[in-house]
Structures are given as structure tokens and as C-alpha cells.
């Protein structure tokens, strides 16, 4: 590791990573921060991987984020800055991410045929276009399904923020639907019993009596509902220490400020804590990218929130030695049109948009694909299919993307219909 990173800040002589490792090795795990001991011990490449998806809801403009074309007609007033990847520029509203970009890769040539928000979101969350016969599971749901973490009583698939179409379990089952956290860092709603312990105990005993009466003559059917099982899991979760992963009071003021005091910033911090606790898939939504009007101001406002949060998340994961075991994907349902409309806005553009992906053992510092700076050519150079991107992520998780599952209608369906992108895999 270099003594100074690209911004010229000195890295500490003894990193947090070393302290953690030492503490673990010396059996001093009680000195470690109060998290699940097992999860805290494993770090680096051997740790089970997690996925963090940053969902840019509304369709973020590639020209105002990761694929600017300054000085051209389509570029608008957006300026670009250099990044830590040589020769690569991104929009100047993202200075912090520009510094971290060498640990990530940029894909500038994603292609899709879905220009509608609902259909586009479905496509970019599941890797499949909407189908009337069945509901596909989202990327996170598949990962949880294939790589369950049996030591967790908190949900393994979490969606932070207020997304209109949260990731679902689809034909793999509703229990894989993402657990919603609307206000990260504050108390997760519905987790506290509204009465004291004595009354809660009485309530639970009451429930047993009522359930028993109903079970007379219906035992198998009632068991099949898994109703009691679900309630028990819920009660377990309500009293679990693992819930602390949702709270941020224990984090330093400095770190919380680095993430930003926004819903999204806090969401990214909670996401890091969840990943640290062993949660398999977390999605954090930032909305407001559907700028059919006032595109440049809209994106500038969002960048003010996205830039510090994402950069801090990447840095934080790296410092805690979680970077090799966490895939971070920053993506939206489509991009925005090169042509600027009369309302100073940009419209939907699925044929050539961007995403940022990195960590989890993926190659860093790559830029794949390019869009036409003149905006004449609709299709990008070196197009990347969404299914291929997902197949790549499956590959790095060790999940066989081509594995077929028999869906409830009898139709076989692979996790991904694409092929992994060899360039992105280390």
C-alpha cells in the first residue's frame, strides 16, 4: 500500500485493518467493535461476499455523471474533471468519486430496450425484461437464495430508502423480498413491541392458546402456513443484538459527516454496517434523477448527496478490509437523452447508458464502451448487455449464472441469460 493516496493524504502507520486482525488473532475479539463476532473476524478475500446496489431512481444522465462530453452540443453546461484513472474524466460534480475511481470500473455502453420506468426498473433489477407469465427474482434475491447466511436473524436482503419498485423475490418466494428501511439510522419501524415486557409475554401466550384452538382438526394445514414460524422469527429479530447493524449512533461524528446527513448518506452508512454484519444484499435508493425538466440543476443537487456518500462508502469498505468481499454497483433504469429538450431537461435514453461497478474481486480502473460525443450515433461502441453484467456479478460471487430453476409454471429459467464479461473479472 502506498503511503499517500491520490489526494495526498497520508495513510496511518498502523491501519484499522491491522488492529482488527491482531485483535482477532490474539483472542481479543471482545475488544472489537460490538458486532457479530464471526462476521467481524473474517476479512479480505476469504470472506463471503455481499452486494451493495446504489439505485439511481429515475434514470441518471450518463452525460452528467460518468460519461460527460464537455464542450459538445449534447454536453450542455456540464464540465468534466480528471479522475484517478488516467485519461478518464467524469462530471465535475463528483470530485470525491473521481479520486476513488481507480478502485472501480465504468461501463459506458449499457443497452436496454425498456424506456418505461416500471419496465426499465424491472429489467435493471432482475436482468430480464418483464414477462406476463412469471415474476423474476432480483439480483439480490438470487444471491440470498444461493448464499444464505444462517447465522443472521435480521433480513439478508435489505432495501434502504423509498424506492417505488423495491427488489422482489419473484418466483423464488416472497420471503426473499427486500426488507424495507425507509428512514435509515433512525429506529426501524415495527420492530418494537408497543407494550411492556409483561404484556407482550401475555400477548404471545394468548396467541398460543388461540392458535391451538384453531389447529384442532387442521394441524397440517396450519403448519403449512408457516404462520407460527414467521411470528417466531419476527420475535427473534425483535430481540436480537444484530439489530444494532441498523443504528448509526455508535459511529464517529466525523464518519457520519463524511457520508452526509442526508437520508441517502445515512443509508450508505447503514449499508456498510449491514455488510459488516453479514447481510448478503443491500440496495440504497437515491431518487430525483428523472429530470425531464431542469436537468442540470437536478443532477447537480443529487451529486451533492451522491458524491460524498458513495466515495466515503468505498473508502470505508476498503479501510475495514471489506472491499474484496463487497461488490458495489451504481446503476439506474436507463440514461438520459443526448438531446436537451426545451425545458432544459433530458428524456429517457436506454440505448447507451452508464454504470459504475467495483469491489468484490472485480477488475478496477477499466472503462468499457463509449458513446458518441456528437450524439448522432444512437448505439454505443462496444455495447454491454444488462444480462452480461449480471452474469459477471454472479461469477464473482461464485454463483452459476446459467443454473436453471424450474419456476412454478414449469418453465425453466436461468439466473442470468447472459455471459460473464471476461474483462471485468480478475
Amino acid at each position: 500500500m502506498a503511503d499517500r493516496n491520490v489526494l495526498g493524504n497520508a495513510t496511518p502507520a498502523v491501519s484499522r485493518r491491522d488492529v482488527l486482525r491482531a485483535a482477532g488473532a490474539l483472542g481479543l475479539s471482545f475488544l472489537l467493535p460490538p458486532l457479530e463476532a464471526r462476521a467481524a473476524n473474517e476479512r479480505g478475500g476469504r470472506r463471503q461476499k455481499s452486494l451493495v446496489t446504489i439505485w439511481l431512481e429515475g434514470g441518471a444522465s450518463q452525460l452528467e455523471t460518468w460519461d460527460p462530453h464537455p464542450g459538445t452540443k449534447i454536453g450542455g453546461p456540464t464540465k468534466a474533471i480528471a479522475t484517478s484513472i488516467a485519461g478518464v474524466q467524469i462530471a465535475d460534480t463528483f470530485p470525491a468519486i473521481a479520486a476513488e475511481l481507480s478502485t472501480l470500473s465504468v461501463v459506458r455502453s449499457l443497452v436496454s430496450k425498456e424506456g418505461d420506468h416500471e419496465r426499465g426498473s424491472y429489467f435493471l433489477k432482475t436482468g430480464y425484461r418483464p414477462d406476463p407469465t412469471l415474476r423474476h427474482p432480483s439480483l439480490g434475491a438470487i444471491l440470498v437464495n444461493q448464499l444464505p447466511n444462517s447465522s443472521l436473524v435480521i433480513p439478508q436482503h435489505v432495501a434502504i430508502g423509498s424506492s417505488q419498485w423495491p427488489p422482489r423475490g419473484g418466483f423464488l418466494g416472497d420471503q426473499l423480498d427486500a426488507f424495507r428501511v425507509y428512514d435509515p439510522g433512525r429506529d426501524v419501524p415495527n420492530l418494537k413491541a408497543p407494550v411492556d415486557v409483561a404484556r407482550q409475554t401475555r400477548r404471545v401466550s394468548n396467541l398460543e392458546v388461540v392458535s391451538k384452538a384453531f389447529e384442532q382438526g387442521r394441524r397440517m394445514q396450519v403448519e403449512k402456513t408457516l404462520h407460527q414460524h414467521t411470528i417466531e422469527r419476527a420475535l427473534e429479530m425483535m430481540s436480537s443484538d444484530q439489530l444494532r447493524a441498523f443504528q448509526i449512533e455508535g459511529e464517529s461524528r466525523k464518519l457520519r459527516d463524511a457520508y452526509g446527513e442526508s437520508n441517502f448518506g445515512r443509508g450508505c452508512l447503514v449499508a456498510r454496517r449491514l455488510v459488516e454484519a453479514g447481510v448478503r444484499a443491500v440496495e440504497i435508493t437515491l431518487s430525483g434523477f428523472d429530470t425531464h425538466a431542469n436537468n442540470f440543476n437536478g443532477h447537480r443537487d443529487n451529486a451533492r448527496v451522491l458524491d460524498p456518500a458513495l466515495a466515503t462508502l468505498v473508502r470505508d469498505l476498503r479501510e475495514r478490509d471489506l472491499w474484496q468481499s463487497t461488490v458495489v454497483l451504481v446503476i439506474g433504469e436507463f440514461g438520459r437523452s443526448p438531446a436537451i429538450n426545451p425545458l432544459d431537461g433530458r428524456d429517457h435514453w436506454p440505448s447507451g447508458f452508464s454504470c459504475v461497478v467495483g469491489g468484490g474481486g472485480l477488475k478496477s480502473g477499466l472503462v468499457i464502451g463509449a458513446t458518441d460525443p456528437e450524439g448522432r450515433e444512437k448505439n454505443p461502441k462496444d455495447p454491454v448487455e444488462v444480462a452480461d453484467l449480471f452474469a459477471t456479478i454472479f461469477k464473482t460471487f461464485g454463483v452459476d449464472g446459467a443454473h436453471e430453476v424450474i419456476t412454478p409454471i414449469g418453465r425453466p429459467m436461468a439466473f442470468s441469460s447472459g455471459k460473464p464479461i471476461a474483462r471485468l473479472l480478475a
Binding site: 415495527n190 404484556r199 394468548n206 396467541l207 392458535s211 419476527a234 424450474i406
Partner: protein, 590 residues
């Protein structure tokens, strides 16, 4: 001097008048129509004990007897015994859930029980069918099966207008085949001619998706899933891709213009081959019985006539299957929209039986509902463990489904429990397949919130309810459904609950509001006005579960009342409400 006194009178009198008015209004609102003394205490005889099964009303008697006869012979053949008859209140609950999306109120239960007629359940069915809540709720359920759950492109698809139109059709009991024809072939602007929303719901990315319409139409109205054939010849069934394309071509001349949906008679339907990328024109064609296609009319009008042709048995079979599913919570044949080919005349099954009656009476949906509600399978209890025959193998779809979810369990103990009871549940499943007992099915989210909200009040929430009550219901329902999660288009699939839903039910605000001891709530009224502990307990059970407590439950809870004394009574009642709300009995239809 006089004016000063007058002004003092005014400044004193006016607030006093206002206060009096408010007190009067609140007292009037809080007035309970239910006389607590008339709620029968626990331990009294069940209302239907030893009452002989009633005769169905004359106008549907033939059909009901035919259905009952059909089941009696299938039960005899398979050697299975049907479950005993359900308590009438249980049937009342089923009817209210299926037709109005909620549970019976205490007020309704009292009215029902005070009717001594032996056919009071049939009378109540008619009453519910005439209630505006039926039209509202059933319209929404049918809309879901026609256009799914998606919101579509907002500007061209007005779901609210579509539901509203369906509601009107239901209210005036329009013949169902006419309704279907209007949906398939309607023209005009989707705001003025709301039936066209059926077509505009399939507009995506600015264009009409004929494939989606073809697949959806055949699923919803003929009960066949041919969507696989969109891309290749169907792997299991006889459908060929060419047949699918022919059907899609039926929608090929429909376009969205300034005057709404219209048909362009000279337009060709062009399809691009997925492999060769060559384009060719596809002529409109139906996959079988092309003689049912009329000679004249637009393509869509001809398709509509073909689908609803009097000889097209698939139409009534699909309709009966779906209505059966909406009433029972489980379709007669699952999946609800993928039926096997109609059997030959010698092997006519239940769908044909009810279907023929349906057609003979001008596709009368209400009649169909009344026949189903009066039939024996609908009146059976949901107890189902007297399998006297070896378990049949579960249907292919069921085993496939469990295969795909076996890796999904987060907790190993679930897997163990599942495998241990696999044989038994297969048994119970086949009992449900034979309809020897009423199936247990999970309530839809809106039914659950409807039930929770109704259980909060003693009076029925309906057109006549105070605006305040209905507004509360509207907002709470939408929030809850959003958090609870919509089940989606395939609402008759079996699903288990999630932990989030359990948390919402146990700790959520709506649940907490529903049971807390606030003056207008049922729980408070019961605890304050119900007189004896036993009648209070009865009231709790009737309000939430539509039944009276068993002796074991009574004994357990009456102890709590005794221990708590009059001061702790409201808390005891709240805790009872909580456990009733969170019991499997409440969340499931049975």
C-alpha cells in the same frame, strides 16, 4: 346597558352552544346500535347445531342440486368423506371476505343471527350482492385478472375509470359475455369509453403490445396460457408459434390515436422472425374452430365474438373457474388461467356443469355466485384430516414450486419440519383438491386490512358510514397495502407470509390503532359496555374472528379478566384483540 348584557350573553352563550353541539354529535356518533345484552354468552348452543341443511332458493335449486350431486358422486368414487358442515358464521365470514373484501361487523352478525329463517345464508348472499361494496370490491378483483396490477402508461391507461366501469357493469348485472366483448373490441377514448382501458393497459413504450394483449386475452377469457408460444412452439401443450401470431394479428389493426383506440382497416400486422430477422405479414387467425368467427366486423369484434361464441366452452369454463377461485380462495383447477382442454361430452366436469347453467342464464355472474355460495362444498368446514384414501401425488406445479424454494429457507428447522410433514401435507393437499373440506387460503393484503379496519368498529363500514370512518379506511388501507406488499396478478397462487408482514401486524401502527382502548373503538366499547366478562369475551371473538370462543379459550381468558379486575379490563381486552389479530385464523380464509 341592555346591549352590554346581550354581548356578555353572546360571549358566554355561543361557546356553550358550540360545546353542547359537539357533545351531542359525539354522543350520537358513539351510540352503539348493538345491544350488548343481546350478544349471547359463551357456552350457549351453536346456532346451527342439529339444524337440517336448508333448501336452496327455488330459482337456483336445480343448479345447486346438480353441483351437490356431482360432488357426492366423486366423493363416493374416491371413498372420501366430506368434512362436517361449517358454522353459519364461518360461512358468513367467507362470503363477506370474497364479495366485500372484509369481515362481517358485529352489527351484521346480530342482524344475521336474529333472522330465524333456515335459508338465511342464501338471503344474506343476496343482500351482499346488492350491496355497493360488492360492486366496488369485485370490480377491483376482476380488473386485476384482466389487466394485472401494473399501473401502465399513466396518460393512456386510467385504471380508476376501468374499475369504475366494471363496477357499473356489476351493479346492473350486465351479461358477462357482453362485458368481455366490450373490453376486447371497444373503441374510443379511454376516459369516455372506459372499456378501452383493457387495450390501453397494454401500451408500453408508446406502442400497443399485441403479443401482450393476445396472451392476456386468452388467459383471462379462455383460461389458457399460450404466452410460451410467443417465442417458440409451446413445449408442453399443442400451441404453435404460428397460432399465437395469428391471435396477436387480431389486435394488429388497433391503434392509439387522438380519438382514442380505433381500428385501421388497411393496416397489416408484421412480425420479425427472431432468428432470421426477416419480416413477414401475419394474417389474423384463430387456433381452432374458425367457423365461430363471424364474417363481418373489425378484427377485434370478430375475435370478441369468437371468444364468447355460445359453443366455445372454454369461455364459460374459464369464467366459472375464476369465480370459483374468487369465492373459495382457490380455483377449481389451478392455475386459474391454464385449464386442460375441455373434456368430451361424456366426461363433463364441474366447470361444464356450472358453465352450462351460466350460459343458459345469459352469462349472469350474480347467479353463478349464488349457486356456488349455496352449494355443499361451500358450506363445509375447513377441518380436513380424515383422509381415508392413500395420498395422491401432488400436482406437478406444486412439487416444482417447492423444488425451487428449497434453497430459499433461511432457517434449517423449516426444512426439517417441511420434510417431516411432506407426506401429511400431500394428504391434506389432496383432501383440498377433492373439495371434501373448505380450503385454507391466505387473505389478500386488502382483505386483511379491510378485516382489521372493520374489526375496529362495531358498525359496518359502508356507504352509510361516517365520512371520517371511510376516509380513515381509505388512507390506512393504501399505506398498509404498500407496506404489506401486493400479491400481484397471480393472486390465487399459494404464498406464505413474510417476516416484514408479521412485524407489521404485531407492532405496526395500524394494528396498534385498531386495538387500543380509544372511545370509539370496538375494544373500548366492549370493555366498557359489555356487561359480564363472558359477554365481553364473546364480543371480542365475534368482532375479530366471527365466532364464539371454545370452552378451553373461555376458561383461559376468563381467568385473565378475573385476575385483572374492572380496572385492568381494557388492557386485557386489548391483549386479547392483539392475539386474535395475529392468529393464523385471522389472516387466513377457512
Amino acid at each position: 346597558m341592555a346591549t352590554r348584557r346581550f354581548s356578555r350573553l353572546k360571549s358566554l352563550g355561543l361557546p356553550l352552544v358550540v360545546v353542547l353541539a359537539v357533545c351531542t354529535l359525539v354522543a350520537w356518533a358513539a351510540h352503539s346500535p348493538v345491544d350488548w345484552r343481546q350478544v349471547r354468552p359463551a357456552g350457549s348452543a351453536r346456532t346451527t347445531d342439529f339444524r337440517s341443511p336448508s333448501q336452496p332458493p327455488a330459482e337456483i335449486a336445480d343448479a345447486v342440486h346438480a353441483v351437490d350431486g356431482y360432488f357426492e358422486s366423486t366423493w363416493k368414487e374416491s371413498g372420501r368423506k366430506p368434512a362436517p358442515s361449517a358454522d353459519e358464521l364461518q360461512v358468513l365470514r367467507r362470503l363477506t371476505l370474497a364479495l366485500c373484501g372484509t369481515i362481517p361487523s358485529l352489527e351484521e352478525i346480530r342482524i344475521f343471527e336474529s333472522n330465524p329463517a333456515p335459508d338465511r345464508l342464501d338471503q344474506w348472499t343476496n343482500r351482499l350482492l346488492a350491496d355497493s361494496r360488492f360492486a366496488d370490491y369485485f370490480a377491483e378483483r376482476l380488473a386485476r385478472s384482466f389487466v394485472g396490477n401494473e399501473m401502465g402508461q399513466v396518460v393512456v391507461f386510467r385504471r380508476d375509470r376501468f374499475s369504475d366501469w366494471l363496477r357499473q357493469q356489476l351493479t346492473k348485472n350486465a351479461p358477462y359475455d357482453e362485458t368481455v366483448r366490450q373490453m376486447i373490441s371497444g373503441t374510443g377514448l379511454w376516459t369516455d369509453h372506459p372499456a378501452t382501458n383493457y387495450v390501453t393497459a397494454a401500451i408500453a413504450n408508446g406502442e400497443l403490445d399485441e403479443n401482450k394483449l393476445a396472451g392476456r386475452t386468452v388467459r383471462a377469457f379462455l383460461g389458457q396460457r399460450i404466452d410460451c408460444a410467443q417465442c417458440h412452439d409451446h413445449p408442453f401443450a399443442e400451441w404453435k408459434q404460428q397460432q399465437f401470431q395469428g391471435l396477436a394479428s387480431m389486435f394488429g389493426q388497433a391503434t392509439n390515436s387522438l380519438v382514442g383506440i380505433e381500428d385501421r382497416p388497411r393496416r397489416d400486422y408484421v412480425v420479425e422472425d427472431r432468428k432470421t430477422l426477416k419480416k413477414h405479414v401475419v394474417e389474423p387467425a384463430v387456433p381452432f374452430h374458425s367457423e365461430w368467427l363471424p364474417g363481418t366486423g373489425t378484427r377485434r369484434e370478430r375475435l370478441a365474438a369468437w371468444i364468447t361464441h355460445p359453443d366455445n366452452r372454454r369461455f364459460e369454463r374459464a369464467t366459472v373457474n375464476r369465480i370459483w377461485g374468487l369465492m373459495f380462495g382457490k380455483a377449481f383447477h389451478s392455475p386459474v388461467d391454464d385449464l386442460p382442454d375441455p373434456p368430451s361430452a361424456a366426461d363433463r366436469d364441474l366447470l361444464d356443469l356450472l358453465g352450462a347453467d351460466f350460459r343458459a342464464h345469459n352469462c349472469d355472474l350474480r347467479r353463478l355466485i349464488r349457486v356456488i355460495a349455496a352449494s355443499r362444498p361451500y358450506r363445509l368446514d375447513s377441518i380436513g384430516e380424515e383422509a381415508s384414501v392413500a395420498a395422491k401425488a401432488p400436482a406437478a406445479t406444486k412439487s416444482a414450486h417447492s423444488q425451487s424454494t428449497d434453497a430459499a429457507d433461511w432457517n434449517k428447522s423449516t426444512e426439517k419440519a417441511a420434510s417431516a410433514s411432506a407426506a401429511d401435507s400431500a394428504d391434506a393437499a389432496s383432501a383440498a383438491d377433492a373439495w371434501t373440506s373448505f380450503p385454507m387460503t391466505r387473505l389478500r393484503p386488502e382483505q386483511l386490512i379491510g378485516a382489521m379496519l372493520q374489526a375496529r368498529w362495531v358498525r359496518t363500514i359502508d356507504q352509510n358510514s361516517h365520512l371520517f370512518v371511510r376516509a380513515t379506511r381509505f388512507f390506512q388501507e393504501n399505506d398498509f397495502v404498500k407496506e404489506y406488499g401486493d400479491l400481484g396478478e397471480n393472486e390465487l397462487d399459494e404464498r406464505t407470509g413474510t417476516i416484514s408482514q408479521a412485524l407489521l401486524r404485531m407492532n405496526g401502527k395500524i394494528a396498534a390503532d385498531a386495538l387500543k382502548a380509544d372511545p370509539l373503538n370496538a375494544s373500548a366499547r366492549l370493555s366498557t359496555f359489555a356487561g359480564s366478562d363472558a359477554s365481553c369475551l364473546d364480543g371480542c371473538y365475534l368482532v375479530v374472528l366471527s365466532r364464539r370462543p371454545t370452552p378451553a379459550e373461555s376458561e383461559y381468558f376468563l381467568h385473565q379478566f378475573a385476575d385483572a379486575g374492572p380496572k385492568g379490563r381494557s388492557q386485557v381486552v386489548e391483549d386479547i384483540f392483539w392475539s386474535l389479530f395475529n392468529s393464523p385464523e385471522f389472516s387466513w380464509n377457512h
